[in-house]
Symmetry: C2
Subunit: 229 residues, 2 copies
DNA sequence: TTGACGTGGTGTCGGTTCGACACTAAGGTT
DNA sequence: AACCTTAGTGTCGAACCGACACCACGTCAA
């Protein structure tokens, strides 16, 4: 089966920059390409948009198929349309970025016999196509967004300590923050719920666990709120 | 001449939300559609992406062809990909927003025998396709961006008074600002150059003219600056 | 010419927020 | 019991913020 059009059309793809945070670093998920062009190179998970799915659906499908990732924070980033960004034929790519809780998503490593791996954002290999540019844009967006929207929580497990939360901000922003000032600020947002639990199995004083107050957040969001870290 | 592909592909279009500011309001440029679907309805200027042009180029070409607008601030907004957003066939639209100096762009009203007109953003007619959603997104983006990037200047002539600049911010943000505080803030940015000129032909004391200091701005931008109104 | 009108242009002050900064508490390990 | 590691907490000065009112200057009409 094939389709004929009066004028040529670019192919339409989606590509996703998936961020995760582990003990050391902010990382991006990459897939090693098996076929030309750029066979053997690392690339962003992605693929062509199907006829009957929206762009968001295509992005989620690719995340599921290529990395076994589901139910994550996902937001459209930018659409890349340079004429020769794919050497085969013209492909326009609508890109997304996703935030995953690494602790809960052990990311199926090799679907379709494909190799997948996490790379620290300041130690990336050379990427296929214009994917380096896409990652740069995603990092810039994440840095901007984290300042005025509470998306840092998306990188942490449901229950987290304040020190973990501070580390998220430090890794994303690439700068150290003052512990006391940080705690003052997050307390001032009123968006954290203090739990009656502490972390387990640590070789030092255990820290109190908190959780993000989504209900209050949604309420504030509707009223045209503010939020700053 | 026609083209055949193995799989169906959505058509790819660009649409532009063009903002301009006149004495009264922040306005959006619309074009009246001559053909079905939505014949007679107002719509955003836009059209299909050609094979050999980037998305940005397509947006600029459509602005030129449909409204005679050139050399404006143009930035990609979002890509809309709902499956049935065009009743004829699937069309994915990469949208842009543009800021024009209404004073200098008298916008050729009717190219291609098409009718074009400016509408105040809180008095828009019903629009074709999902263009209302696109305009909403553009307004939200403009409101966000104007706070931390000096794009207000793009809506004014090269030389402007501080009162005019304040009006830009008031119209874009939809709220009144304090004159003295506003002047303190813009002075503090160091991005305005005070000219040895005053406005002409006004029936009251003439205001001093200023211009935006692009060189200093570009320098600050590279150093990772800050800016807030 | 003078007075009225309309917009331009300017400074202070109290409240809030900001960042810098250091010690004790708790729990586990040896 | 001593020690090691991380948790948790408050103050103070500086900068910033928003609220607020009056005189200056130019035009126009009487």
């Amino acid at each position: 089966m094939s389709v004929t059009y009066k004028h040529p059309r670019p192919a339409l793809a989606v590509d996703c920059v998936v961020f995760g945070l582990d003990e050391e670093d902010l990382k991006v998920l990459l897939i090693r390409r098996g076929v030309e062009p750029f066979a053997g190179r690392w690339a962003l998970p992605g693929g062509f948009v199907h006829e009957d799915e929206t762009l968001d659906e295509a992005a989620r499908r690719e995340l599921r198929e290529e990395a076994g990732i589901e139910k994550v924070y996902l937001e459209q980033l930018y659409t890349f349309g340079a004429v020769d960004r794919d050497p085969r034929e013209r492909v326009v790519s609508v890109t997304y970025y996703a935030l995953v809780k690494l602790s809960e998503h052990a990311v199926r490593a090799a679907t379709d016999a494909r190799e997948a791996a996490w790379f620290a954002i300041d130690d990336l290999p050379r990427l296929a196509f214009d994917h380096e540019e896409i990652v740069d844009k995603a990092i810039a967006r994440l840095r901007g967004k984290v300042r005025y929207a509470p998306i840092g929580f998306e990188l942490l497990p449901k229950k987290f300590t304040l020190t973990q939360l501070q580390r998220v901000y430090e890794k994303v922003l690439g700068q150290e923050l003052d512990k006391r000032n940080f705690r003052k600020k997050v307390a001032a947002t009123g968006l954290l719920i203090e739990l009656d639990e502490v972390e387990q199995d640590v070789a030092h004083r255990a820290a109190r666990l908190y959780t993000f107050d989504e209900k209050t957040y949604r309420k504030l969001e509707k009223e045209g709120f503010l939020f700053e870290i």
